[in-house]
């Protein structure tokens, strides 16, 4: 930390804590909704797929693929890809692939929370329910952190890494499980 005084640095840390609390509140709110709201078992799904689960696993797979783009473009932006200089459009790629990935997860999450709810009847389902709540909390914090200047340099990589990790965990506990249980189908 070269510029800010110690007091300013503490204020920024407090900002980060506040943003994390907002994200935590989002995660808890989703979990409580998923637990309290009686699962309907019925929800809208995308035309072109044979059922809600099929449309969900493919939307989730799209989001997971875009998350890999996110990881690579972020590594490039931070100069962590050996022998790669980030082209000028890397930032735009990162922003728009992230936006698309997030929007792809939203209908999936709505279906999960509305039709199925927060469940804990086996380890996979419990882990998936927890990760789902954490993902949207972490994403909220990351988006809010992007609007603040002067946060510690590790803030965005940490939050981005958390968002990426939870999304990959969500995909492993849902779509991969679905494909290995039911075979790859639309």
């Amino acid at each position: 930390m070269s510029g800010p005084t110690q007091g300013a640095a503490q204020r920024l840390d407090l900002v980060l804590v506040r943003l994390a609390l907002v994200g935590a509140a989002v995660a808890v709110a989703l979990g409580v909704f998923g637990r309290v709201h009686p699962p309907t078992g019925i929800a809208a799904h995308l035309p072109g797929f044979s059922g809600p689960l099929e449309s969900k696993v493919w939307l989730a797979s799209l989001a997971a693929a875009l998350a890999v783009v996110q990881l690579l473009s972020a590594l490039a932006l931070y100069g962590r890809l050996p022998r790669v200089t980030a082209p000028a459009w890397t930032g735009t790629l990162h922003r728009w692939s992230g936006r698309a990935a997030f929007l792809a997860t939203v209908p999936v999450a709505v279906h999960c929370l509305y039709a199925l709810g927060f469940q804990a009847f086996d380890t996979r389902v419990l882990v998936h329910s927890l990760l789902g709540c954490v993902f949207f909390g972490a994403f909220t914090t990351k988006m809010l952190a992007l609007t603040r200047r002067g946060l510690p340099g590790w803030s965005l990589p940490l939050l981005g890494g958390l968002v990426f990790t939870t999304l990959v965990g969500l995909w492993l506990t849902s779509a991969l499980w679905f494909f290995t249980t039911n075979g790859i189908r639309w």
């Binding site: 929800a43 922003r95 909220t140």
Partner: protein
Amino acid sequence: MKLSGPLVTLALGALVGGAVLATSSAAARPDAVVAAATASSTQTPTAEPPAAPPATAAPRASVTDAAAAPDSGSPLSDGELAAYAGRLPGGRYSLIMAVRDDRVVAYVCDGDEVESWLRGTVSGPSLSLTGKNGETLAATLVTGRASGTVEALGERWSFTVSAVDPASVRTVTAKVAP
């Protein structure tokens, strides 16, 4: 004031989520039937079902979708065997129900380790079942479907299962053989 990209992203997500939620709740509207059926069937099941089941009046009034309206009486003719089967939300457990006359048997299982049997009565389109370990199931028969709530194996689910060929679930349907 310049619009902030990340905040726009969050707002877009909330908008999309709200839109999908609105569509979903429209899709789940036949659940009004389930709610009414659950409410009416939590009363102690009577030994002899009344000739004109009052339970049918409530669900019908609450349903705007004519296609989902329950049949006036039992959707089954005398002695006919019907079976309903499907996955419970979450995908791990399956539910199979067999109905004949005023008797119904239901079976919940994960196809592997745990299972649960419930028995009960049919009153008009309403099913009300209980199990030995405190399991309960309340459902309404709608053309080709059964919707309701089941509490078993330490879980509670709302479900909709489809009519299936009774011959395909012989073990369960044998339980309601005359």
